[in-house]
């Protein structure tokens, strides 16, 4: 489990349940590394401002994280973290590597509105 203040997803079934029960979900799948930490930090900062979005992290090295690692949208990714945005259970955007707050906000606004 990652040492962040975000809610954690620990299994594929939990992820599937979350995306089926929530319209807008952002999941950051990474490690406690320098490219991942800033993204968790951005998410923690945005949680209060985007009440229409549920924010989660998932440990990249967990076997259960295959549910994200093996997504077709992530097939060309070669940089942590993998960040996936779900709307009504479907992937609407996925990014690889570090993202700034502005980049994350742009995606949240574009895909989920605010």
């Amino acid at each position: 489990m990652l040492q962040t203040n975000l809610n954690h997803i620990e299994s594929a079934s939990q992820l599937n349940q979350i995306i089926s029960e929530n319209e807008n979900v952002m999941v950051c799948c990474g490690r406690m590394g320098p490219m991942c930490l800033p993204v968790y930090d951005v998410m923690e900062n945005l949680e209060d401002k985007y009440e229409n979005v549920k924010f989660f992290d998932m440990a990249f090295d967990s076997p259960e994280a295959g549910v994200i690692r093996n997504l077709p949208e992530c097939s060309t990714f070669a940089g942590l973290p993998f960040t996936v945005y779900y709307k009504n259970g479907k992937v609407v955007k996925a990014t690889s590597s570090i993202q700034t707050k502005d980049e994350v906000k742009t995606i949240l606004n574009e895909k989920f509105g605010n």
């Binding site: 490690r31 490219m35 900062n45 942590l80 690889s96 707050k101 502005d102």
Partner: protein
Amino acid sequence: MEKFDAIILGGGPAGLTAGIYLARAKQSVLIVDQGSVGGQIILTHKVANYPGVPETSGYQLAGNMKKQAKEFGCKIVSSSKVTKMDLISDQKTIEVDGEDVYTSDSVIIASGGEPRSLGLESEKRLKGKGVSYCATCDGDFFQDQDIVVVGGGNSALEEAVSLTAYARSVTIVHEFDHFQAYASAVKEASEHPKINFILESNVVDFKGKESLESVIVKNLKDGSEQELAVTGAFIFIGYVPRSEAFKGILDINDRGEIIVDRDMKTGVKGVFAAGDVISKRYRQITTAVSDGTIAALSVLEYKNKK
């Protein structure tokens, strides 16, 4: 509008140290960082030369500094951008994320530096799809693949060696005919059977639709270009001071560094600067901590004299 005794822009070792000193002196302190608190040291896998700490990770050391600053009462706002500021007036104002406005009569700029990029459009497009800035994070995506490392300093050579644990071959592309690294790092990289060198050359383009497929390397002596089939490119070409926002307000040299005196004072009353953003020769965690200490003590002196 919230008022503080001191506002610190930047939450790396310099900013956090200044915060610790000021908060401990019963000053109300706001630390604003545009990224994660900790600064560049969170990128450092191992810190073994910080006095009193036998060996730790940069992330751990930064975490301890942040905890200490918070325990002394610093308010820390991370992942937030300064959108407007007035540093000239006696009462300085800082607007954050276009929303929150803070004031203080003293500001310490400890905004540090950021990794230098090649500035290519293709580099941006393929970030995380072959182009990387962190060997520790992304090295294992390149198992048995051919990769390049761009740069010729300690980071480039040390990370090139660490990447040989995964990659089939590592080609170091460097713009000069010599390295800006410790002799031991040069020796280790030079003697490694998996490492090749292309010197006096620059990467001028990254090719690939969905992910990196090759890089174009230009020879800086004769202008010739060659295409290297690689799936990974790690860029370690140093850091640039994060001082853009202060141009026209503070004295900044041609390297983008803020000019301060020995007390960390800038040319503007009530504005101090510390850490990697200032003009200085050595950039270490310990020197940043020292700068932060001096800046904090100078702020206290400035306030006492007012």
